[in-house]
């Protein structure tokens, strides 16, 4: 085989190996604007949330953004968080089937998609008081996490349950609270 043929073959192999990544990108290409805006919000929420001091053991430990159950984002979410970091912590996307695994407890943010086996409401109950910022979506389920996406006036908005955040020992920046459609305030004792 001549040198040029060999080179050509190597290029083809490179393409094949990359094909899954390219093909998966197609799903990101056709994601509606609403989904992209929600993915962008998820990548920005960590900057407005403070976790308890012992949650991050290293200054550059990744922030685990988990998608538990139904995933409306696909690789769009990975692309959105790629290269982003908050206070030196990069963001890592992890996908889980349910809250039953040990790794669920290691999530810092969890988008709850629900499954036929475990509803969004059940997932949210399971992750309460676990210093996890739970995020839910009105278009998937009426169950509320700490942050609950809802379309209002054709724009992606969200409700914040600060009382639930307090129970999870999370502190939410006032700037984010100010943007919410509604805030359930934390009680004086929490």
């Amino acid at each position: 085989m001549s040198t040029s043929n060999l080179g050509h073959l190597a290029l083809h192999l490179g393409l094949l190996a990359c094909a899954p990544a390219l093909a998966m990108d197609a799903k990101a290409q056709t994601a509606p604007l609403e989904t992209q805006v929600k993915a962008a919000f998820l990548s920005k929420f960590p900057a407005y949330v403070s976790w308890p001091p012992n949650v991050f053991s290293a200054p550059d430990q990744p922030i685990r953004l988990c998608v538990i159950g139904r995933d409306p984002f696909g690789p769009l979410l990975d692309r959105t968080v790629a290269g982003q970091s908050v206070d030196m912590h990069p963001i890592l996307v992890v996908r889980l089937e349910g809250t039953g695994t040990a790794t669920a407890g290691q999530c810092h943010i969890a988008f709850l998609g629900g499954t036929s086996k475990q509803s969004t409401a059940a997932m949210q109950q399971a992750l309460l008081e676990d210093h996890i910022l739970t995020v839910t979506d009105a278009s998937l389920s009426p169950a509320h996490g700490i942050i609950h996406f809802e379309l209002k006036g054709g724009k992606v908005r969200f409700h914040i349950d600060d009382a639930m955040a307090a129970r999870s020992r999370l502190s939410i920046n006032a700037r984010l609270l100010g943007l919410a459609l509604s805030v359930r305030p934390r009680t004086r004792t929490s």
């Binding site: 919000f41 290269g83 509803s119 724009k155």
Partner: protein, 645 residues
């Protein structure tokens, strides 16, 4: 430390492709790379859908709704409304000629199908002349369509009269989403077509677009006997849209103007022209309430030389207020519309139809109220009514009640009961016809056609990749249109001597086979049980109600082959039609598109590929048929290019 994406190990080659963005990116997807640079406040300002009459997420809407997305339309290669509407499995679309289509939902289809309300950005496009839609007059370039919402079931409460079996809502893109220079040019075996459009910004919040497009469709189809059908036509259209997006206000002004000509088999060309202007203001009162006011003016002109000329001017103004009260979301409002038409006809040996009076102005006003009440977190009740003062028949009330229940797994079960009316048109009330010396048809006293509809549906996403929707309906029509004699003799007039029930099932499903391949299937099945009232002569037979297939099925495959190529196939199977009779048929549409960069795309679309010629609405006339006789449509191909500068 920057985390390395898993695909970076594929090599520089792959990384370069991904970073440069794919050619099949939608306008929205192109923006995704920009969203990361926006502040969190800016993200919450992005308009992701239009503000519809009832601002709730579509997947929880308790109705048989199907949304045709912008991508669905572009990928199918459809350029006219009727061809785009084929993508909705809950609609019946039958091509009559190159420019005329019979489109209906849940039965009663015909050239002048009268039970479907169609709106383009809130502007009603049905004509009160025959209470039907002139599909040949209306067009929006596919480029500018955001989505088409097809809602089956009576839409009387929110949309008013004539939404008896369904409502079609065409929503165009805001000008901010169609910026820059776009040109499209294409030619094929049946037509040539072109579009030139420019979208710009006056300030960051004030954007606009202007466009001009045109097409010429040749005389390609044949009649039932094989002769050339002479149904070619051409049209030029131009228009603009201006959007001002301030913090709490959204103002849109848009308009179009068009002019064209349709060939006729046995007579001179019909000249079609028209123009329209819409202004719309949406004001957010606070985060839980908004106000919308819209006014529009529409003019159409259909001129058949030596025969007739129909001119119609419509002026409409409507307002609505959306607000929340505890667990209730309330929308209420009202409107006023006036329609002024002239229909002079030239009487001759062959043309004996006349409208008495030739010119008439019809007005109506309406008020409506709807309350969406969250009984519990999972159970929602929607109750509403519209009261409308109709031309010819006075006050009509259209109530509806809907219940939706979200199950533990996220799926939705819904049920509805509603009532709607189809008011008589100029054709029903004012038409006269002579045959020789005898007056054969005269204006009568037809009353509004009513429907009481009962519906139930289920929508679920059982797997991450699979979603489906099922809906069943049972409609009761106590007074359908019929032709009545005067003392057992001529002249005939239109009355309400027919009645009956229709029932059926509609379904659609979406399956993401892999990340680059999606399948969509859909279909419907209808049974009609119609009869004339006791003592009625049954003139014309039950076939005067409409011409509908018992079933319809479609399958679509959408593939992204590699980065630059898209392949789309649409297969449809439609059952036979009774009168005019048309055999059941199967047809295939296909489109392959190559887009090496986001600024250029070339595509080849094939339409009706399985047979050289096929008919969809019979090829002979029906009794009391309005409009042209069906032709046999020819297989065609079309090569299109799209450029962004």
């Amino acid at each position: 430390m920057r985390s390395r994406p898993y695909w970076a190990s594929c090599g520089l080659f792959a990384a370069t492709i991904l970073l440069s963005g794919g050619p099949l990116l939608t306008t929205a997807a192109r923006a995704s790379l920009d969203l990361r640079d926006m502040s969190i406040e800016e993200l919450g300002q992005i308009q992701v859908t239009s503000v519809s009459k009832s601002a709730q997420p579509l997947s929880t809407a308790p109705a048989a709704i199907y949304v045709i997305t912008h991508d669905d339309i572009v990928r199918s290669g459809a350029t006219s409304f009727p061809e785009m509407l084929r993508l909705a499995p809950n609609l019946q679309v039958a091509q009559i000629t190159a420019s005329r289509y019979a489109i209906s939902a849940r039965g009663f289809n015909g050239g002048a199908a009268d039970k479907l309300l169609v709106l383009v950005d809130g502007r009603s496009i049905y004509t009160p002349f025959s209470s039907s839609v002139n599909w040949d007059l209306q067009e929006v370039p596919a480029e500018n369509i955001e989505r088409i919402e097809v809602v089956n079931g009576p839409g009387g409460t929110l949309w008013g009269a004539n939404a008896v079996n369904g409502v079609i809502n065409v929503i165009t893109r805001a000008s901010g989403e169609t910026q820059g220079f776009t040109a499209e040019l294409g030619a094929g075996s049946a037509e040539v077509r072109g579009l030139l459009q420019y979208g710009g910004k006056i300030t960051d919040t004030l954007t606009y677009r202007v466009y001009v497009d045109g097409f010429k469709h040749g005389d390609e189809n044949i009649t039932g006997t094989g002769a050339n059908a002479r149904d070619g036509w051409h049209k030029v259209q131009g228009g603009f849209r201006l959007d001002w997006d301030a913090a709490d206000d959204l103002i849109t002004v848009q308009g179009d103007i068009y002019d064209g000509s349709e060939h006729q088999l046995d007579s001179r060309n019909i000249a079609i022209s028209g123009h329209n202007l819409i202004a719309r203001w949406t004001h957010a009162l606070n985060s839980r309430s908004s106000l919308q006011v819209q006014a529009y003016y529409d003019h159409i002109d259909l001129f058949a030389p030596d025969e007739a000329r129909n001119r119609l001017d419509t002026f409409d103004i409507q307002a609505q207020h959306n607000f929340s009260l505890g667990d209730h979301e309330i929308v209420w409002g009202g409107g006023y519309r006036t329609m002024s038409d002239e229909f002079p006809t030239v009487l001759s040996e062959t043309q004996q139809v006349q409208f008495v009076p030739e010119s008439r102005t019809l007005s109506l006003w309406n008020l409506f109220l709807q309350d969406s009440f969250s009984v519990t977190d999972n159970l929602k009740l929607i109750v509403g009514a519209k009261i409308e003062d109709e031309p010819y028949t006075g006050i009509e009330i259209m109530p509806n009640a809907r219940l939706s229940f979200t199950l533990r797994d996220g799926s939705l079960l819904w049920a509805a009961a509603s009532r709607a009316v189809r008011v008589p048109s100029r054709l029903d009330r004012d038409v006269t016809q002579r045959t020789g010396p005898i007056l054969t048809l005269t204006g009568g006293n037809m009353q509004a056609v009513k429907v009481t509809a009962y519906e139930i549906g289920y929508r679920a996403q059982p797997l991450a990749d699979l979603s489906f929707s099922l809906a069943a309906f049972y409609n009761v029509y106590p007074n359908l249109r019929s032709a009545e004699p005067t003392n057992n003799n001529f002249p005939l007039f239109f009355g309400n001597g027919m009645k009956g029930e229709t029932y059926g099932i509609e379904f659609w499903a979406n399956y993401q086979v892999s990340s680059w391949w999606r399948l969509a299937a859909g279909g419907n099945w209808i049974e009609q049980d119609l009869r004339f009232k006791p003592g009625n002569l049954g003139i014309g037979g039950l076939q005067i109600a409409g011409n509908d297939p018992k079933y319809q099925f479609s399958l679509r495959s959408m593939m992204d082959l590699g980065r630059d190529v898209g392949l789309d196939l649409q297969l449809r199977r439609v059952g036979s039609l009774p009168a005019p009779p048309s055999p059941a048929y199967t047809e295939l549409g296909a489109r392959i598109a190559w887009s090496p960069s986001k600024k250029f795309e070339i595509s080849l679309t094939g339409t009706n590929l399985l047979h050289k010629y096929h008919a969809e609405f019979g090829t002979i006339a029906n009794t009391l048929q309005v409009g042209p006789v069906g032709i046999r449509a020819k297989r065609s191909v079309f090569l299109a290019t799209r450029w962004e500068l």
